[in-house]
Symmetry: C2
DNA sequence: TGCCATTGAGTTACCGGTAACGCAACCAAA
DNA sequence: TTTGGTTGCGTTACCGGTAACTCAATGGCA
C-alpha cells in the first residue's frame, strides 16, 4: 500500500467555494461564531459533510495564537497506576474542554524534563503540567520566559511557579508516624526505592522522621533501594532491613506496592503481621483491599488531584481567578497491619 | 499574577536580523540542514542563545506539511499498568525520534475513539496508534480519507487497516486451555469483566473455549462482570462462579489482577489452590511474583509491543518497508496454581 | 419618513516558518 | 582560460486559517 504523504486534505477555501460563500463565512460557521444565517450554516455544513472536510488546527493555531488547544503533561512515568490515574483524570478533564494532551515522562531525571519542556514549548501550548519538586533552573527560566500557565502537581509547593496542586506528603508521613507511635511501635524502619535523583517519597520520609524525632523515637533504620518502587523492591528491601535490624517492630514503606511486597516477605518467613512487625504503606492500591489483611495506608485522591490540576490550568488559561495552592485529599486508613 | 497571552516570543526573523543573515539561513542552521558556513552557524546560534529563541513548530508544521512530528495514541485507559507500560514504551520510542505523543483514552467505547480520531486528525499527525478490534465505520473512513499511517495495537489483526502489532490473544487462550487440560482439569470456568462494549479479553476466551471444546470438556461456567477488570472484580466473580458451580476444578481469569483477586477469595474461604481449584491469569503482573504461590499465567511483552508499534509507525512514516502484521511475544508461564 | 443599530456577509493582511529557485563566488579539471 | 560543479546565502511565494475592518441590506423606532 503506498501512502502518499502529500497535502491531501480538503481546505476551508474549497468548502467555502462549494457552498458559494467566502472563506471567512465558512470559518465563522465552523467555529460557531456569530454572523451568518441559518440557511448559510446549513449550506456550509452540507459541503463540510459532503467533502469530508477535517479542520486544520495547525493552521488555526498558527493564524491566531490565542487558539492553541494543546496542553503538555509530564509525569515521572506512565506505567504506574498512581500516575496513570492522575493522567487519566487530567486527560478526561482536558478533552471535555477541547484540549489535546501531549504527554511526557522524565523518570525523575530533571534533565529529561528540561528536554521535554523545551520540546513542548515549541508547540506553543496553552498550558503545561509538570510534576515533582525538582526542576533545573533552565526549565524554570524557559517556562517563565514563555509566560505559559503552569501547574505543578504531586508535591504541594507553597510558593509555586504559578499553580501547585499536590498532596501534602510531609503531613502524610507525619500523620503515619504519629499513628504508628500511638499503636505502640517503638523501633521503626523505613523502606523506599528511587531509580534516579530525588524521588517522590522524600517528603513523606521527612514528615515521618520528624514525627518520630518529636517523640524521641528516631527512625531506627532506613533502606532506600536504587530501583523502581514496586513489589519486588518492597520484598527485598524488607529482607535487607530485617537482616540489618532484626529488632524493629514496624516498617513504613514508600508506597503500597512496596508494603505489599514486604508483607509477603514476612509471610514467607513466618513473621507475624502485625504481631512481630507492623507495616504501613501509602497510596491505597486496589490490591491492598483484597489481600487477607487490610493494609494500613494513606488513601490518596489521585483522580481528584488530576481533575483539580486540569481545571485549575483551564481557569488560568481563561484568565479566571484560581487558587495558587490546592491541596489534594489524603486520609490515613487504619487497617490491621499496624 | 497577570499572564499575558499575547504573541510574546522571539521569532526566527529577529534572530536572523541580529545575526545579520536571512531568515532562510537561520532556518537552515536550526534545522541543521546544509548550506551555511561554520562561522555563520556560530553567529546564528549565539543569537539564538542570547535571545532565548524557542522554535515555533506550529508554524513549521504549517509551512511544510511534511514536518508534523505529532503522533496520536489512543488506548482503552491510562490507569492500568498493562496499557501504561505500552504507552510508556511507545512514548519513549517516539521521543527518541523527535515525535510528540498526543494521548487519548476511549474506555472501550468506539464512539469515544471516533471523537478522538476526529480531533487528532485536525492536528495533521504524522501517524496514529489505535487499539482494540472495534472501530466505528466513521473512524475507519476518517483515517482512510486522511491517508495517515496507522498502527492498530493490542489485538493482532491479520488484515489490518495499515499495520497491526498485537498479541495473539486467541492462541494465548487456546494454549492455556490445553495446559489446564494437561494438568488434569476437567470442569473449568471463566471469570472476566468488561466495563463497556466488546472487551479486550474476548479473543482469549474464544481460544480458550475452543481448546476445551476440542477435548470435549466444554467451558463449565462463565461469568463476565459488568465492571472494570481488577482485583475486586476477580474476588467477587470467583465468589459468583463458585456459588453457581461448586464442582468446577479450575478457573481461567481474564487477567492477573482478577486471578489474584480470585486467589484471595479462595484463601479467605479455605479453598486450596491448586488442590481444590486451579487458577490461571494473563499478563504477568508484577505482584503475582511476590505472592506466596506463583500464579500460572501468560507473560506478555507489553514493552516490546509498544516499542515495535512505535518503530513500525516511524518506518511507515519514513516510507521504509515494514511488516504489516507483527506479533508481540507471549509465553505461558507455569506457576503452581494449576 | 428618516436615522441608527443590527445582521450577514466579503476583503485584506497577516501569523512564522519552509520549499523552491536564483545567483554569485570559488575551485578543480579539461 | 573556459567550463562545470559545489558552496553559501538571499528572494519569493506560499501553507490555511483568523482578526479586524468594511459595507450593504434590513428593520425598529422616534
Amino acid at each position: 500500500m503506498s501512502k502518499s504523504h502529500k497535502r491531501s486534505g480538503v481546505s476551508l477555501a474549497e468548502v467555502a467555494k462549494a457552498a458559494g460563500v467566502s472563506k471567512m463565512t465558512a470559518s465563522r460557521v465552523l467555529r460557531n461564531a456569530s454572523g451568518f444565517s441559518a440557511e448559510t450554516r446549513d449550506r456550509v455544513m452540507r459541503e463540510v459533510e459532503r467533502l469530508g472536510y477535517v479542520p486544520n488546527r495547525i493552521a488555526a493555531a498558527f493564524g491566531s495564537e490565542q487558539t492553541s488547544t494543546i496542553v503538555g503533561v509530564c509525569v515521572p512515568h506512565l506505567s504506574s497506576t498512581l500516575y496513570g490515574t492522575v493522567l487519566d483524570s487530567i486527560n478526561h478533564a482536558f478533552s471535555r474542554f477541547g484540549y489535546q494532551t501531549i504527554i511526557g515522562s522524565h523518570e525523575n531525571e530533571p534533565e529529561a524534563e528540561e528536554a521535554w519542556v523545551r520540546n513542548i514549548l515549541s508547540w506553543r501550548p496553552a498550558g503545561v503540567i509538570i510534576s515533582g519538586r525538582t526542576h533545573t533552573t533552565a526549565t524554570i527560566e524557559l517556562l517563565k520566559a514563555q509566560a505559559v500557565p503552569i501547574v505543578e502537581i504531586w508535591n504541594l509547593n507553597t510558593s509555586p511557579l504559578d499553580i501547585s496542586v499536590g498532596f501534602n506528603h510531609y503531613d502524610c508521613g507525619r500523620e503515619m508516624g504519629q499513628y504508628m507511635l500511638s499503636k505502640g511501635r517503638r523501633r521503626i524502619g523505613y523502606v523506599g526505592a528511587e531509580a534516579n535523583a530525588p524521588g517522590m517519597g522524600a517528603a513523606r520520609l521527612e514528615g515521618f522522621e520528624e514525627a518520630l524525632r518529636a517523640s524521641d523515637r528516631p527512625l531506627a533504620t532506613k533502606e532506600v533501594l536504587i530501583d523502581r518502587p514496586g513489589f519486588y523492591a518492597g520484598f527485598y528491601g524488607t529482607e535487607t532491613v530485617l537482616n540489618r535490624a532484626g529488632d524493629i517492630d514496624a516498617i513504613y514503606f514508600q508506597d503500597d506496592a512496596m508494603a505489599i511486597g514486604g508483607m509477603f516477605y514476612c509471610q514467607s518467613k513466618g513473621i507475624d503481621i502485625p504481631g512481630d512487625v507492623g507495616i504501613a504503606g501509602w497510596g491505597s492500591m486496589e490490591v491492598a483491599s483484597v489481600i487477607p489483611q487490610r493494609l494500613t495506608t494513606t488513601a490518596v485522591g489521585t483522580q481528584s488531584l488530576g481533575k483539580s490540576a486540569a481545571e485549575a490550568l483551564i481557569s488560568r488559561i481563561r484568565g479566571e481567578p484560581v487558587d495558587d495552592v490546592i491541596v489534594a485529599p489524603t486520609r490515613l486508613v487504619p487497617g490491621n497491619t499496624v
